[in-house]
Symmetry: none
Subunit: 226 residues, 2 copies
């Protein structure tokens, strides 16, 4: 198993590398973003451990570039802080997992194993609903062959809907799944996002997929065709 370690803190890098080698892995080390990116593109690794704060090019940017360059190697991001924000950004930019400093070495190893474990099923097929296609892996969305740009939230909403086709989802379910905060207060975020989603995936087309079930919730209706 070849691992690329991109970490600018020399002492941490050395320690991690030693431990990983100890655990039986072959480890290359890079000390800034640009260097890491070049190595990652030119060499086939089994995993990349990537710090977020890096000289020359930060981890998130490296991550994004690699994904754009179709480098699908599993990436484990290392970060100092842990806020929802951070996690979302990390995962959004294409990382597969996220580890917050300080961490136990055992956890790093476990997560690496976890990454590989899930390597196989990561070839998750694109979700389809009529002429609407959503690819969880590449984050591509298209309807009738037409590419559609979606923001992170909208993508998550659509993905959730498409994972539960023809099923009525209540606002509570949706809110709980996408926003995950204590919603005591009545908010109409879900309504607003449904609207925004409709503007992009329904309004330009004649066949509507998003359906409002008055008094209950929303549903993505998959046309019973062919």
């Amino acid at each position: 198993m070849r691992i690329l370690l991109v970490e600018d803190n020399r002492r941490l890098s050395a320690a991690l590398k030693a431990s990983l080698v100890d655990a039986g892995y072959a480890v290359d080390a890079a000390y800034d973003g640009m260097e890491g990116e070049e190595l990652a593109i030119s060499t086939p690794y089994d995993a990349i451990v990537l710090d977020v704060l890096l000289p020359r090019k930060d981890g998130l940017a490296v991550c994004r570039s690699l994904r754009v360059a179709r480098v699908n190697t599993p990436i484990l991001m290392l970060t100092a802080r842990d806020t929802v924000q951070d996690r979302v950004r990390g995962l959004d930019s294409g990382a597969d997992d996220y580890l917050v400093k300080p961490f136990a070495l055992s956890e790093l190893l476990a997560r690496l194993r976890a990454l590989w474990r899930r390597e196989a099923p990561s070839k998750e097929p694109a979700l389809m609903a009529g002429d609407l296609r959503l690819d969880p892996a590449t984050r591509d969305v298209a309807r009738a062959g037409q590419r559609i740009e979606l923001t992170a939230r909208l993508f998550a909403l659509l993905e959730y809907l498409m994972r539960h086709p023809n099923q009525i989802l209540t606002r509570e379910q949706i809110e709980g799944h996408l926003w995950s905060y204590d919603f005591e207060a009545t908010s109409n975020v879900v309504d607003v996002y449904m609207r925004r989603l409709r503007l992009r995936i329904d309004d330009p087309f004649s066949v509507k997929l998003l359906e409002t079930v008055r008094g209950v919730g929303y549903r993505l209706r998959v046309p019973a065709d062919s």
Copy 2:
């Protein structure tokens, strides 16, 4: 129903397991985070009951890893404290619900049921009456293959009738069941709604299913066919 119970306190774990088994569930127990995570990834459970404070890897981390690994099993988190902070963190990491120790066993069971209701809207089979079909899960109604749109009230009324086929239901029963208010004043809501229901499920067809029993109430007659 298979449940994974991740709880390091052996006595509590044993007690919970016994109760859950008692309640008819198949229960696997894990005693630390890593063990729990691996089991959760390798085995398809219907729910995971996850303590927050765990050796080797805490519940929040386990939860996060599972979600990243696309394990969508409903997770019920157990915690000792209860601050908004805690709850937010729990839900943020991907848990579906949250239960504060100490809790009543009945509440645990109730919440598990709630989780399933939410996640897999009851695989309850569709109700049938002749060529009329009503699916409580998807709220789809159809007669002779023809989809029929119903408002919330009408749907509830039809569902009630279909759950008591061939049985005479008085106005009082129906009103008590659907409107649940103490009607002193004589109202003809039920009549009106029966009319509206007929317009949609009987009028367009030759065989009538809704029957008026003069002086008593209404009944849904199921044709004794094939």
